[in-house]
């Protein structure tokens, strides 16, 4: 998975973002100041930067300028249009406004990584092999036929592994829309995925919430 730099001077938020990134399998390096960030990037380049706009020693934009070429997502507490625009003007790939939902941030991270083709093309677990580029799945070397929705559901679960996703969220990601009351559809598809791919131990039902993909049952 990707090597990601988290630059945020609030320890609690920095830890929170890093924890979430690690949860889904990324490598997260943490920096509290712009100087630290640049030193870390000098050691080994990053696939993605998550930058807080407001920092004690500089701002996220100038760090981004110095590490030009690395995709970046800006985190801003301001929610001010000016800062968003500035973020995009300087070439940022996305931004997110505090307070935000972590799954939202992970989705954006995933989207940017996909766009910049820094994401892992394969996911393997036991006999399961997902090819994200070809959008195909095989089990123990044999290709498995999945419908579009089943595949999208599986990809969403795997990309957010170890984090429970609500039925609404899964619906929105896999079907492109969400409507309340019809979340049984998700249940049916999850059942099929478990059966087809022998994932009974890995897709956990979270009572009254949704599902979670777990690498270690």
């Amino acid at each position: 998975m990707a090597r990601i730099l988290v630059l945020e001077d609030e320890r609690a938020i920095n830890d929170l973002i890093a924890l979430n990134l690690r949860m889904v399998g990324h490598t997260a390096e943490q920096a509290m100041t712009g100087r630290d960030a640049i030193t870390l990037a000098g050691r080994e380049p990053f696939d993605l930067l998550i930058l807080d706009v407001m920092l004690p020693d500089s701002d996220g934009f100038s760090v981004y300028e110095k590490l030009k070429g690395t995709p970046a997502i800006f985190v801003t507490a301001l929610g001010e249009t000016a800062d968003k625009v500035k973020g995009f003007e300087c070439g940022a790939d996305d931004y997110i406004v505090k307070p935000f939902e972590m799954t939202e941030l992970l989705l954006r991270v995933e989207a940017v990584l996909r766009r910049t083709q820094k994401n892992e093309p394969h996911y393997r677990l036991g006999g399961l092999d997902i090819d994200f580029n070809a959008r195909t799945v095989s089990l123990n070397g044999k290709p498995v036929d999945l419908t579009m929705q089943e595949y999208a559901l599986l990809e969403t679960l795997v990309r957010n592994r170890n984090i429970a996703l609500s039925r609404q969220r899964l619906m929105k990601e896999a079907w492109g829309f969400s409507f309340m009351g019809e979340s049984r559809t998700v249940d049916v598809h999850v059942q099929r995925l478990r059966k087809k791919l022998d994932l009974n131990d890995h897709i956990a039902t979270i009572y009254r919430f949704g599902y979670r993909f777990e690498e270690t049952p």
Partner: protein, 374 residues
Amino acid sequence: MKLRQKSYLLTVLLVAAVLYASMFFLLLPNIRTAYASAQARALGGEKALATAADRLFINIPEELRPAYARGFAIIDSEGAAFAIGYEDETWVATEPVPPRTEPGTMRWITSNGRTVLAITDSLSNGVWLRYGLDVTDEVGRTERQAIGSVLICTLLTGGIAVVLYVILERINKPVERLAHELRTPLTVIRGYGELLERAKLTPEQQHQAASYIVSESERLGEISQKLLTLADARKNVFRPERIRLSELAEHLKTAYPMLETEIEWDALTADRALLLSMLGNLIGNAVKASAPDKPVRMRATPGTIEIIDGGSGMTPEQLRYVNDPSRAKNPSIRRGLGVPLCHEIAALHGAALRYSSKEGEGTTATIRFSDFTS
């Protein structure tokens, strides 16, 4: 320039445009009247002249008609122009009049900065009459009036805009600061809450998440406390009483054991709760800035209280902020409600809070009371 400022500018421009447009429409009848009266005058003059010229020339055989007569000029009897001057309303046309297509044409001619209303007509004897009336002054006056009004309007709009801007800034600053202050704890509480709810965490991670939620909730509590104090200070809930600084210092030492005090000025008149809040804030900041083994000193001399930290000093930019939080340009140092609160409390006591600092040598916060009784 920030977008907010851009949109602000746009609004002002829009308001100005609307104002000027309405001004223009209001003044339009005026300008129209001026032009109409000029036209009426010109028509009257032309008519009188035409009658006179008719009478003058009608009985004179064509070949005997004078080329010039008292400022009248016949350029060509057959074709083009008959220029005529009349007392003070003299106009000398040099350009040829176009061949006649219809009787009595009127047009505006502007040349050499003068505006002339020209009427072309033919007399009953077949000669052309061209009459010009200089209306520069008449029309010009109206136009000058219009420009003057628009100018006054511009100045007024500008003035109103500046006043509005200042008022809005004053209202927005504390609100913006508050919104920012609230967002970090909210993000943290929500984020760790989500993790606890949805993710499979190790016991250590669970503990860390829970303790972050607790500490950030405490921070929310602190913010609300500061806001209340600020609101009180704003509402002028101000109850001055005689206070002994040495007693206050003992109280502060229970919260900040590293505090060293030096009280040469003990009795003063102040609001106990507010003064305690201010000193607590200043000492708290000084403690945060100081190295763990360095003490924080509070020194009171007649008229001043100083809080001296053992930190590493501030950058000029930080110093500018703490001395005038409302003017901070760089949002990254515009943090917290503590310093603005201290300034408000100082102002309520007729005192001024001033920070002085040298990088590497620590920072001193000085509260100077302008009128005090020792």
